[in-house]
């Protein structure tokens, strides 16, 4: 009985054809890449000095930028979801800007902010702090492009959770800080984790803004995507092997995020 209803109310059958086409379109390039992997030399290719440096740097910087995204993004999402400030819609659009502008443009913008002659970079340099073309620059570039992912996920989770539990907590004598810590955050934890995973994945794959703003110095600013880009002509086998590593990490991240309800 149930199956009859489901098949009757399901999507039109012809939709299956374009849907299947889309799936093939997503999977085929990955399979094509797998077909070109130099399996006998794989171990050596992904454990070379430059490869290990790049992978280590990518994981370190992505983790750091994810932490930064949480530290900055949680308050941003909370303010957007829980206050009625005028111009909130505009602020939200501005926050989402890094999602839609090309990463290379983000890199240029960061360069004119934190670069040597930049708005903030110049005074910082006088204090002896140099950001551009350093590991810090990699983290900044990754944080810049990843922050909207965390803010969007968390704001959605906050809106879905609503404020009724928070109101009850307040009438039980909990101060706003206690409510935030003991009620709001636990209620939206799945959304927060999902957002953090998205931000991490975005950071891991960041390339355009990073190479523009941070350049490529082995062990300092050459992340895994940059390494792949640089090696794709000089050593295609290495590029393919490292790409596979990145795919595996990404799949692992998605697997991790799946319990985070409805986020991915």
């Amino acid at each position: 009985m149930g199956t009859v209803t489901e098949s009757r109310l399901g999507a039109p059958r012809w939709l299956a054809i374009p849907a299947l086409l889309g799936l093939v379109f997503v999977l085929l390039p990955l399979l094509a890449m797998l077909g070109r992997v130099d399996w006998p030399g794989f171990g050596e290719l992904v454990t070379s000095d430059s490869a290990r440096d790049a992978l280590g740097l990518s994981l370190r910087t992505s983790l750091t930028s994810t932490v930064l995204c949480v530290v900055l993004g949680v308050p941003m999402a909370t303010v957007l979801a829980r206050t009625n400030l005028p111009g909130r819609g505009l602020v939200r659009s501005l926050v989402l800007l890094p999602l839609v502008i090309p990463p290379v443009v983000s890199g240029i913008a960061l360069l004119y902010t934190f670069g040597r002659r930049g708005l903030v970079g110049e005074p910082l340099e006088m204090l002896g702090v140099e950001i551009a073309f350093s590991t810090a620059a990699v983290v900044l570039a990754q944080t810049f492009v990843s922050l909207p992912f965390l803010v969007i996920s968390l704001e959605g989770a906050l809106r879905t959770a609503g404020q009724r539990h928070e109101a009850v907590a307040a009438t039980l004598g909990a101060s706003p800080t206690t409510v935030f810590r003991r009620v709001t955050l636990p209620l939206v934890l799945p959304g927060l984790l999902g957002g953090a995973v998205l931000a991490f994945a975005r950071s891991l794959g960041e390339f355009g803004a990073t190479i523009t703003f941070a350049g490529s110095l082995q062990g300092t600013t050459t992340t895994l995507p940059t390494q792949i880009y640089l090696e794709r002509f000089s050593d295609p086998d290495a590029a393919v092997a490292l790409s596979l590593v990145l795919v595996v990490v990404a799949v692992a991240v998605i697997g991790l995020a799946r319990p985070g309800r409805g986020v991915l």
Partner: protein, 363 residues
């Protein structure tokens, strides 16, 4: 009982009552409601009358445009919800899903600054008080509606509120579990300052000392529960008391409403001519006859049948005349003798000595 959690079980924490005398302009609510210390006031009224707004104002969740809110001799104007000591129990339990039942109840004591184990000891006591101690280790998601509502009550009481707000606490419960919850409430509300929003006459009868009836954001009737339910002056109070209430003006010997006249016996002093009065009569005093209008009979009106439903061993017939709904309760044999199809025209009559006439409430 020296532990903090032992307080509030009717031992004098409720030293003062509640006064809500406010205007909430955006919702067109202008009310003055008092809850004497240690008493329970039931707030009745149709949907959208402003009952929840009043609760929101008392809890600090809705801002009044102007006026006074005071509890236990202290003004609550500008005091944030978490400093008011006003706990709210709504239709839904709204337990925190990430905390165990015990930690839900311990939430109030913890927020007050108690340590974890002290707060849990208080929570255990309150769970026992509402008969839900065995639920302590459970997660809220595994509870039935009735269990969750008991836990929510324990959680509200464990916060040691000076005022308890109940927003239709039984409305979402199954009819089988509501009586047990009502009995628990009856016990814990004794000597506790409480404002109770309800639709249910049984809640008002069993739990409330006083009744306030709201309509369209104004108080239309108030008084001791028994008096309001036996001598209702507003159509809403009449409806929930199961009585017909016909507002009108006192003419010579009858309540006049448009071209209709309801002869009755004034309750106490005879009202002056033109005074606002209500005619109140029980549905079981009403008889219905079909066919042509009986000639010259007093207190007989031609009405239209709206709907018919069973009421115990009787049949309840709602009829309409102009904008007035009048209910008749007939024996099945009497009902069978009349055509009661919705829309049918029948003649409704009430003996004059079954109609009580009271002065209308002037709010």
């Amino acid at each position: 009982m020296t532990a903090r959690g032992g307080e509030g079980v009717g031992d004098g924490v409720d030293a003062g009552g509640l006064l809500v005398d406010v205007v909430v302009a955006p919702r067109d609510v202008t009310v003055r409601i008092e809850v004497p210390p240690g008493q329970t006031v039931a707030l009745l009224g149709p949907n959208g009358a402003g009952k929840s707004t009043v609760l929101g104002v008392a809890a600090g969740l809705v801002e009044a445009s102007s006026g006074t809110v005071a509890l236990a001799g202290r003004s609550l104007v500008g005091v944030p919800p978490y400093r008011r000591r006003v706990a709210l129990l709504a239709q839904e339990a709204l337990l925190f899903p990430h905390l165990s039942v015990l930690d839900n109840v311990a939430f109030g004591p913890r927020s007050r600054g108690d340590g974890r184990s002290a707060a849990r000891a208080v929570a255990h006591r309150w769970l026992a008080r509402v008969g839900a101690e065995d639920l302590a280790p459970r997660r809220p998601g595994t509870l039935s509606g009735g269990q969750a509502q008991r836990v929510a009550l324990a959680r509200a009481l464990a916060a040691e509120p000076l005022l308890l707000l109940l927003d239709e606490p039984m409305a979402a419960l199954d009819v089988e579990v509501a009586p047990a919850m009502r009995q628990v409430l009856r016990e814990v509300l004794l000597d506790r300052t409480t404002l109770l929003v309800t639709h249910d006459v049984i809640d008002a009868l069993m739990l409330a000392d006083h009744v306030v009836v709201l309509e369209d954001g104004r108080v239309v009737e108030e008084g001791p529960t028994r008096e309001v339910l036996t001598r209702p002056r507003s159509t809403f109070a009449g409806r929930i008391a199961g009585l017909n209430v016909v507002p009108g003006r006192w003419g010579p010997g009858a309540v006049t409403r448009g071209e209709h006249r309801f002869h009755g016996r004034p309750d106490g002093v005879e009202p002056g001519p033109g005074e606002h009065v209500v005619a109140v009569f029980s549905p079981s005093a009403v008889t219905l006859v079909g066919g042509p209008a009986p000639d010259g009979a007093s207190n007989t009106w031609t009405v239209r049948v709206q709907d018919v439903e069973p009421a115990g061993d009787r049949v309840r017939v709602r009829t309409r005349v102009a904008d007035l709904v009048l209910t008749a309760e007939l024996r099945a044999s009497a009902a069978a003798a009349v055509d009661l199809a919705p829309g049918a025209v029948v003649h409704l009559s009430v003996p004059a000595d079954a109609i009580a006439v009271h002065p209308a409430h002037r709010g």
